[in-house]
Amino acid sequence: MNLIANNLTYKPSDQYHLNEVSFNFKEGNLYTILGRTLSGKTTLLKTIAGLLTPDSGAIEFDGKDFLKVPVWQRNVAMVYQQFINYPHLNVFENIAFPLRQRKIDSEEINNKVMDSLKSVGLVGYENRKIQELSGGQQQRVSLARSLVKNAKILLLDEPLVNLDYKLREQLREEFKSLFSKGLADETILIYSTTDPRETMELNGEVIVLDEGKVLQVGPAKEIFENPNSLKVAEISNDPPMNIIEADISNEQIRFEGIEIKAPSHLSKLTKGGLNIGLRSSDIELSENGHEFEVELAEISGSETLLHLKRGKIKIIISIEEVLNFKIHDKIKIDFKIDRAYAFGADGKLESSPFGGLNG
């Protein structure tokens, strides 16, 4: 049972929310929609759920025109980024709600709800009021409610984004084990997120979305290794990939007075106005490197993010330890240039260390 979309377009004002989005989702698979805030992720999920009608385009599910099926008959489940539950019902009734709607007999409802509670680790909370639960528990309730339906299409709209760091890590692990247990072989799972790390960990098929347009589709590994454009490279890395304008000639990469011998996958590029892309983790501190000035140093968790400047170039590097720097300190760094990407002036990938295109 495939979910097929054809040129979905939705433009409520002068900005595209969806711009000719097409895809073919197959049952039993996990699809991750990666995109920044306002890239159209929620719009896409709502369109699949039936809460929004696109201006043009078609959705087909199981061979039927999905746009003609009203929301309440589509048998989809959705978890919102805000923790949406029914405040007037307790935990048990919240989860039982979609089943009661289907007029299933109460013993079966009881069993299903208890199973669902077990799978999200909320056994013993049946009679609590929603307001008495923490954010993470509330999100588990809405997850349980969407699991209990056994829906053919399960939509998760940035389900972890409003949780604190620790809970997010924990729930992400639980999600992974839930998903890997193979929810149901015929379920299509669609997960939207802004977080590249989450995307890689979920390791599904990734759809990169920006300003309503699909930029790249492929397995998580492929997106990470061979982003097909500057935009994708920015969206799929956190912190975003550093982009440095450079020229390559005589097997030398030149920018801001720095000259580095080009690695083999870049040396044959001769176009001018190239953009060299380097991940923040592919730049390291080094005694005999090139001098940069510290603009900002932020410590996040166990790593330090350094915002550096040299002439017109601004880059971010991440160091796997907590270090203290002062603003305007001069430090020396070296580039792991064999990990560098090259993008053309038009933003398209020219060469990747993982063998994309010219490599």
Binding site: K46, G50, W72, N85, H88, P98, Q101, Q131
Partner: protein, 282 residues
Amino acid sequence: MNKLYIFLKYFFIVVWTVFVVAPFLWALTTSFKDFQSVNGGVTYIPWVDFEPNLEGWKVLIKSPAKGGVDIVEPYFNSLFVTCTASLISIILGTLSAYALSRYTFKAGFVKNNDITFFFISQRIMPPIVLSIPFFLFLSSINLLDSLTGLIVVYIVLLMPIAVWIMVDFFNKVPREIDETALIDGCNPYQAFLKVVLPNSIPGLIVAGMFCIIFGWIDFFFAFILTFTEVQLLPVKIVALNSSVTPWWSLSASALVSVAPLIIVAFIVERYLSKGNLSGAIK
């Protein structure tokens, strides 16, 4: 500083309480007085200051033939008109408010906010401006001086209040709750009845309270649109006045006319403190 604050706080509470309660006490004592005790200077304590009697109260239920004024019928008329009009206003108002909050309407330059404002504008106009159209309207459909006519007019007056309060309330109920209900298999009507409405009880109670209060205290339209067949309580009470003002029965009728509102206030207060939307969205 802290002690001063506490002192001032209680001081103002006491002053305010006296301010609010004193008229009631005054009315209560006056209702048990007769002509002599009312005109014999200010007195408060029954049996000590004056000799209490029940004349002021008895008159209210005695029929006019026996020299009474009989406010029982107007009282039930008022109850009936207020409750019916409020109930219909709440039902219609809640439905329109939900539509105005959730759906987008457009007729030329008229949009949702304009429609909401149109409802409120019914209350902005001075009643005197509305009185003549209402009079002509009711007379044209033969409903002058009837309970039905009054109910129709009161619905026009009360529904804007319900719409206004409920639009604001529904706007605060996250749309995602309705959407989740739709996704969980409810059609739009079920989503409204099973999910939105149960979470809007505080709003419904506030709207209901305002409708009941404004319906119950209206004198103007009841006075203009009724003559002899039907009388509402406020009109009847004002009609008690005569060349010798019967302060005792006026006080007694004032007290019984306030009673329903006090009961409503006590019920509402209990529900209002239980607003339970906090868990919908965090």
